[in-house]
Symmetry: C2
Subunit: 251 residues, 2 copies
Amino acid sequence: MSRYLLTIKYDGSNYCGWQVQPNGVSVQYIIQTALKELLNDNSVCVTGCSRTDAGVHANMFCLHFDSDTTIPEEKIPFALNVRLPLDIKAIECKRVADDFHARYSSKGKTYIYRILNSPLPDPFKSKYSLQIAKPIDINLMNVACKKFVGTHDFAAFCSVGSSVVDTVRTVYACSADRNGDDIFISITANGFLYNMVRIIVGTLLEVDSGKILVEDIDNIITSKDRNCAGHTVKPHGLFLERVHYNEMDIC
Amino acid sequence: MSRYLLTIKYDGSNYCGWQVQPNGVSVQYIIQTALKELLNDNSVCVTGCSRTDAGVHANMFCLHFDSDTTIPEEKIPFALNVRLPLDIKAIECKRVADDFHARYSSKGKTYIYRILNSPLPDPFKSKYSLQIAKPIDINLMNVACKKFVGTHDFAAFCSVGSSVVDTVRTVYACSADRNGDDIFISITANGFLYNMVRIIVGTLLEVDSGKILVEDIDNIITSKDRNCAGHTVKPHGLFLERVHYNEMDIC
């Protein structure tokens, strides 16, 4: 048995998220089914780097599985892709150490949230960005972004219903970039709480609209109270952009 | 009664093209239905700048209609967009002269055909570009592109079944650009025959693969024989990029 690290990319629009759910088709189910067929092994089980929510996309999502296949690792993505739908595709596959774990070996992840900052919608971006008509002050947003960098208890930025006990996370980078009408909010952290990125983005948008002051962010963090932070923005603008397995990648 | 020029943008994946068809939902039907409702006038009829095929997209598509509405022209896109699906959106509306015609007043159009030149597919590009695994020689393709520029009888680049009598068109520009794995083939002409862009792109790809020689293109044009040109590439990589109503726009 060898352990393999598979990197995939997916448009999450049509899925109930990564994890297998009783109702709805998950990305995990699709990948697992294709791997079982390809490897001719019904016992194959895949472990993902994180649970992404329904509607969230991934430019890079990693998972591991064990197999005694004789298919060369570099051939696996191609062989798998013919068995995968157009909106989920394998990018890379490599053998890793037996103790490698897609989730626990990760040193951090980068998420990007996309906003279309235009009074007019765009048919090609509607499934991949949140449309905000009013012009966003990107400089103000970046001042607010800096408040999240560092090691904090992010309990105020975690949706209720999460079973996580330790809510302390380290945000390595948080910034907003504009390219024409497109705004990209990028957050890199050693880990993320349930809906953390979507609540941070909701808070940044409320700073922009004046509902929350930049100076209030420190107090919102120390409050550890979900009710003090901004709203949870919709999932369709969110992309898991990168999974970092090397500390060097993050800084 | 005033005449209005409406500019729209659409993802053609789910439509049978612009024109109303007996089977399948067309973009024209969707726009006309939304306009009838908005203007509260069941007689509204829209005339498009061209017929785009099933699956073809438009970053800019123009149409005209007549109405005695009191809604200010600049408000029409916003009022229309709430009645339109996510994949068809109005961008601009302005009053034009009574003799303006979306199709006949056009001085030319620019189409772009997108190719993903990578051995690996991309879930975010699968509906918007043709994937070609083998590396494309962009310099060779540009040499071939130049052969199409000028006034020619493009009968060899017109699908059979077209009722057009005059097959002479002037191509103002034809070029291929690469941005990483993405290739954009751009063609501007005073008019296009049925499937002309898709057959030119098919021919360019056969030049790249060595099936057709660059030196053969002149002969293919003069043959006026559809069988001499390359294959018709799939519609999903094709975008109507711009409709030119001003001669100055073209050169």
